[in-house]
């Protein structure tokens, strides 16, 4: 009974993902119809069919990387959010709880201030994102002997996040208000407008490998939800497992934030929506969250880049669209089966 529901849910999600990705290709300020798209696809295989160079550029260089990025970033943030919610046994937790977003934001702001290349900006952002979590781990190791492990991690995360947030403010303060400051502020609000294909290689690998690894660990994560001690009696090496999971989740989140800026909400809320569909078993919840999150962020990004000629930062539209959407879901569903 359960297995069937799971398989059909997955199939549905996979088909939905493909459909929405394809549909997103014809959405945009520059009008490209389904006919144009179909012609373009044909031209890839048949050299006789020609399309306007603009259409090719828009589809391949502008829309496609952005669509893939939105899907991967949304998926990554959702699956890591679900993972942390399971690991910390707290439904209010998001992927930024260990400070990775603040660290990545600082790295990016620093790169912008020093006028480094976009590649360096992504690298620095990624590095500081990871660095923040390493700092959190270090602090929790030093202080954690006398306190409960999970709580220590969360508190250390808050400490590190606050420090980095303050550093970001400081960078904003010294930045040239003419061009540097707007760039920093804009990056922090989240957005995918500058994405190019080469940027995607890293996050594609990290997120797909991470998706597989985390989904497989879902079962052990379930055992962990009974508490460290019980999990240990069932044979789990809790410290090692937690370290492994946090490492994977951090790599995934840092790679996402380094290309998309700070996008909140998705990592917190999508796991709850997934839970309503598939229940709380992590082995199913984690991969489901990835797909639902990817679809959600893709739709929101389509909206961000189509509705007005100005770019609305993705972090803003995600929250503005996500909030009423979530209220709708809460009204329609029921927690009392």
């Amino acid at each position: 009974m359960h297995k069937k529901a799971t398989i059909s849910t997955f199939m549905l999600l996979a088909i939905l993902s493909v459909l929405i990705i394809s549909f997103s290709l014809i959405l945009g300020r520059y009008s490209i119809s389904i006919k144009d798209l179909w012609l373009f696809i044909q031209s890839c295989f048949n050299a006789d069919i020609k399309v306007q160079p603009q259409i090719k550029t828009i589809l391949i260089d502008i829309r496609l990387p952005r669509i893939i990025a939105a899907f991967l970033v949304g998926g990554t943030l959702s699956i890591t959010g679900a993972t942390y919610q399971g690991m910390f046994r707290n439904p209010m937790v998001s992927p930024s709880i260990l400070g990775v977003s603040s660290g990545a934001g600082f790295g990016a702001a620093l790169a912008i201030l020093l006028a480094l290349s976009p590649f360096m900006m992504q690298t620095l952002s990624f590095a500081f994102g990871i660095g923040a979590v390493i700092a959190v781990y270090a602090i929790s190791l030093v202080t954690g002997k006398k306190h409960e492990k999970c709580l220590t991690l969360i508190l250390s995360g808050m400490i590190v996040a606050t420090v980095f947030a303050a550093l970001i403010s400081m960078l904003k303060y010294v930045a040239d208000p003419n061009d540097t400051l707007p760039s920093i502020v804009y990056w922090l609000m989240g957005g995918l407008s500058d994405i190019e294909m080469p940027d995607l290689f890293f996050i594609a690998i990290v997120s797909i490998v991470g998706l597989i690894l985390l989904s497989i660990s879902g079962w052990k994560l379930d055992m962990l939800s009974f508490g460290d001690e019980e999990a240990r009696t069932m044979g789990i090496h809790v410290e090692r497992f937690r370290f492994l999971v946090i490492s994977i989740a951090t790599l995934m989140t840092a790679s996402a934030v380094s290309i998309s800026g700070i996008i909140g909400w998705v990592g917190l809320v999508i796991p709850h929506i997934s839970r309503m569909l598939t229940g709380s078993k992590n082995a199913v919840l984690l991969p489901t969250s990835f797909f639902i999150g990817g679809i959600f962020l893709l739709i929101v990004d389509d909206f961000s880049r189509t509705v007005v000629s100005m770019e609305i930062p993705l972090g803003i539209t995600t929250s503005l669209i996500g909030a009423p959407f979530f209220i709708f879901i809460l009204i329609k569903s029921s927690n009392k089966h």
């Binding site: 550029t57 828009i58 502008i62 010294v174 061009d179 500058d194 190019e196 880049r305 000629s309």
Partner: protein
């Protein structure tokens, strides 16, 4: 009795009432010897005519040595207007602040005036009336000869440019102006940041999108829809700016300006020619654009720009340096 007389005489001797360029009535001392500029845009404007009377220039964040401007400017002490104590410590007689035609809110200036008890005199920074500003400064601070020299120079430029626009009729080309690294950050027309383009009646494709007059990030697809004929990329700190991004990117290569090779880096030494800040430094921008769009002769433009640098930056541009401006 005698002391009261002295006080009255003293007060009378050191004050006169003037009307500044914003129409405000202010009392200022008769002989102005110590001036503090309110910000960088005013510092630049004052430098060429009032250097000997400026107690400091305004603080430019992250500043290093500016090139192509007299060393005297670089060596000036900096005062941050936000730090009231250092303002008072520099002991100016007046503060000169710049505003634009579109501004009518002088709250900030009134606040400073109240807190420091130093009169704030507002001057006009609108790009098409800077000759009047220098004339006003001549009356305000003395140094009449230097002020009128510059006022005259500016008047000539305004007149010449008007003639060229009338003779050649307004250029209809689509112009896109971007700042920052990505090429997607722009200034919509109508703000003080694009006064250069608006003065020359050029068609800034970014029509008024934001009422607050700030920067706007646009969608790449919007650039395709606009398909500008000319792109001007404003200098960004460091080696790369949108100029390199645009010319090397796959995304931009089908845009008209890129195909026709009409992508230009806006010169930025010592200050940007379009903006950053929006002050007297934009005059070379006008000269350059009238060469590009209104058939001003290359020689004539070069001469005028070199003259500008001499008059306003007190710097002798060599031919080599002139060429380097555009790289």
């Amino acid at each position: 009795m005698i002391s009261i007389l002295f006080i009255c005489v003293g007060l009378n001797l050191s004050a006169k009432t003037i009307t500044d360029m914003a129409g405000r009535s202010i009392d200022i001392p008769d002989n102005i010897e110590r001036i503090l500029p309110y910000d960088v845009k005013t510092s630049i404007l004052l430098f060429s005519v009032a250097y000997d009377k400026m107690v400091a220039k305004s603080l430019l964040p992250g500043s290093k040595q500016l090139m192509l401007i007299s060393d005297k400017y670089n060596k000036m002490v900096e005062v941050d207007m936000k730090n009231i104590e250092s303002v008072l410590a520099s002991n100016p007689q007046i503060i000169i602040a710049g505003a634009y035609n579109s501004d009518n809110n002088y709250e900030y200036f009134e606040k400073i005036q109240k807190r420091t008890h130093i009169p704030v005199v507002i001057i006009d920074l609108s790009i098409d009336r800077l000759d009047k500003t220098y004339a006003f400064l001549g009356t305000l601070i003395g140094n009449k000869k230097q002020c009128s020299e510059r006022a005259l120079f500016l008047q000539n430029i305004y007149n010449n440019t008007k003639k060229l626009i009338t003779k050649n009729s307004t250029n209809q080309a689509n112009v896109y102006y971007t700042l920052g690294l990505s090429g997607l950050l722009t200034d919509p027309s109508g703000s003080k940041h694009t006064e250069v383009l608006d003065y020359l009646k050029l068609n800034n494709v970014a029509k008024v999108l934001i009422p607050t007059g700030g920067h706007a990030n646009v969608n790449m697809e919007q650039i395709f829809i606009w398909n500008p004929d000319y792109i001007f990329a404003a200098g960004y700190k460091g080696d790369k700016n949108a100029y390199t991004t645009i010319l090397s990117s796959n995304k931009w290569k089908t845009i008209s300006a890129v195909k026709k090779k009409n992508v230009y880096k806006v010169p930025s030494k010592p200050f940007g020619w379009f903006d950053h800040p929006p002050s007297i430094n934009r005059i070379p921008g006008i000269l350059w654009l009238s060469q590009l769009f209104y058939k001003n002769s290359k020689d004539e433009t070069r001469k005028q720009i070199i003259e500008f640098y001499k008059l306003f930056y007190k710097y002798k541009l060599t031919e080599k340096e002139y060429k380097l401006l555009f790289e």
